[in-house]
Symmetry: C2
Subunit: 148 residues, 2 copies
DNA sequence: CTCACAGTTTAGAACTGTTCTAACTCGTTG
DNA sequence: CAACGAGTTAGAACAGTTCTAAACTGTGAG
């Protein structure tokens, strides 16, 4: 919003937008206003876990007008482009993770909270060969936790 | 559904119903016609994986009238009673597993197919201590597979 | 710089799986 | 076997997500 807000914030915002734009171009996605805004929010911090509604509320709260449909579209496009990863832990809603590397999750169901577990620390042994005609695509570990 | 169908089938059906009834009583659930029918289908074979719609179709196809709402109610009651376990692998629908013991799953997403992996064979090591105030409730492993 | 077009966004309708509601039925206990 | 509480039901309601058709916008050509 105002130019009077000071250079620091403006520069940071500009940098963020530039970074996001580059990232989007690399992924073969047109850097539209909406995608740049969403990418800005998503990739500003590492290891974010968002739901569609969640992210829509955030971007709206930030004063940016983006429709819920676009948030869904964007999350899926980002996922397909390898910028996000979908995490399935809850039958009710879909989570998207900005950390696309090899890792697993703690999940606190009562609060819808996801926490990363580094891939190196965890190890799954003894997975049998899948039935004939099938190949392992990915191994997901969800450590469900509760308030102690 | 005639009586002429032969003793073998009739006896098996009666036994099944008796078994189901006993199981329900033990779980503190009134053995209503619907619950007995559903339990009969669910626990006739080991290691079944059903969805609500799925089971509703099956019971209906078997000529038994049970509403979808009752199927949902029953699946949840059975789960609460420890007769079933809910498996979360797909954001779109809920699966229920008749195997309540310690085990994990292969999941073939394209066909909605779940296959058990015995708990003894698989081992998850290196799970870090959960963040303060949280305790591990359960560790779920989903091996996502694809047609080779 | 402008135009035109393909790609994108949007509001709202539609859809899917699940839960709720209020009336009805059934199993159990006395 | 009566009566009461537990269970069932059809259909409405709901949440999250996807679809649709029309409006808009980034991009590359001229």
């Amino acid at each position: 919003m105002g130019k009077a807000a000071g250079e620091t914030r403006d520069l940071a915002a500009r940098d963020l937008a530039l970074l996001a734009t580059g990232r989007l171009r690399h992924a073969g996605l047109r850097p539209t206003r909406q995608r740049v805004e969403l990418a800005g929010l998503l990739f500003r911090d590492m290891d974010r876990h968002v739901t569609a509604e969640n992210l829509h509320a955030e971007v709206t709260a930030a004063g940016v007008k983006v429709s819920l449909a676009t948030v869904y579209n964007t999350l899926h496009q980002f996922t397909e482009a390898g910028l996000l990863r979908q995490v399935i832990v809850d039958a009710a809603r879909s989570y998207f993770d900005t950390n696309t590397g090899d890792h697993q999750h703690f999940f606190l169901e009562t609060e819808g909270l996801l926490i990363d577990i580094p891939g190196e620390s965890i190890e799954v042994a003894g997975v049998p060969a899948p039935p004939a005609g099938l190949a392992v695509d990915r191994v997901d570990v969800v450590v469900r936790v509760k308030r102690a």
